[in-house]
Symmetry: C2
Subunit: 221 residues, 2 copies
């Protein structure tokens, strides 16, 4: 029985990682649909959306079943609760990729704002955060999880810089307002992907160390 449970937990983790790889790929494709003006990539993301949503439901079902049948304690319970939360974050990362793909399609129909300022760097950072948050989960690596959390500020700084540049473009040349505006939305989506990766990293620490590291500014009484 105990052994069977271990097997179920391992299988659950594998499914979650599979979902993570779907979400990662969706983000990569969506952003490159924008950067490379590649509509086929945007369409690929849209056609994969259902697969991610189905995975979310499957994983939540597994968590609920294991909670009901096994009544796990301590680390196993924390793991299951962490998986439930991470699952939600991955699904939302997939949603962001879908939003970015829609933006890509709209951008393609308008004059391009060139060059795409800091978007590639911002994207690379956010993609790296998602990847490393999942690596931290696989390895139970708190140090890696903390490094993901630290990178969130860099993403926010790049977003601010990007916003400033885009605003300047818009003020100087009203013909790029539409495209620049879409890039603002894309940057917001990438920022949120970084936020979700941060959430995942926090959940990894919660699961590994049993400590809640959300809201570090709080004075824990």
């Amino acid at each position: 029985m105990e052994r069977h449970f271990e097997h179920d937990l391992e299988e659950l983790k594998q499914r979650l990682l599979w979902m993570g790889s779907l979400a990662e790929r969706a983000v990569h494709q969506a952003v490159h649909a924008v950067l490379d003006a590649d509509e086929a990539l945007a369409e690929a993301v849209l056609s994969e959306e259902d697969a991610i949503n189905e995975m979310q439901i499957e994983i939540d079902d597994r968590v609920q079943r294991l909670l009901a049948l096994q009544a796990p304690m301590a680390a196993d319970l924390r793991f299951l609760l962490a998986v439930a939360r991470i699952n939600g974050d991955l699904e939302r990362i997939g949603d962001q990729a879908v939003n970015i793909s829609h933006s890509a399609m709209r951008i393609l129909r308008h004059p391009q704002v060139k060059p795409y300022v800091d978007l590639p760097r911002m994207t690379e950072l956010a993609e790296g955060m998602v990847r490393d948050s999942l690596n931290a989960l696989v390895r139970g690596d708190q140090t890696l999880a903390r490094s993901v959390m630290q990178r969130d500020d860099q993403v926010d700084r790049l977003r601010d810089q990007l916003f400033r540049e885009l605003l300047t473009y818009m003020m100087e040349n009203s013909s790029v307002v539409f495209s620049a505006f879409e890039l603002v939305l894309v940057a917001k989506n990438i920022e949120r992907i970084g936020d979700h990766a941060t959430n995942i990293a926090e959940d990894v620490i919660y699961f590994v160390a049993g400590r809640d590291v959300r809201h570090p500014a709080l004075d824990r009484r």
Copy 2:
């Protein structure tokens, strides 16, 4: 023992509703900081942020303790899982209110875009969705939960309309680009508040009916 558990569940629900009322108030104050150009309201939201974050941690702790001690089944298990998810959504609604407050403060330092187009209507809709998603939770009311889910499309339509108007402003008059841009961010935040209310409504249905209604487009095999 059983009776004690019922009491614990009721107390948990009351705490969640209290957290909901904090989040609701934060949204209301933040948006009115923008609409009424009232900096004190924005500051009030920022000073309440910690209280919401503390509530989130407290509620997650309660959920974890009840899962560990009571090993609940069926409806009670679903209730606890729903509370954990709703808790996350309420905290993020609080985050959106904080973002809106920061926008309000920046907007106050620039020439105003008047009138604030459809922002008041969009806000009212989103606030109503949050309120009714919590009412649906209290009453276990699936019909009300579904009406919240349906209203999400209206919020998205108002957002699109608002974006079009703001883009037009920006193209016509470069001096309002900054303020219009901040209003775009505010509208994005309000849209996300509507999304979180929709998530809460979906969780209410999951808890009451035991049915997963996220992703209605999926063909459930």
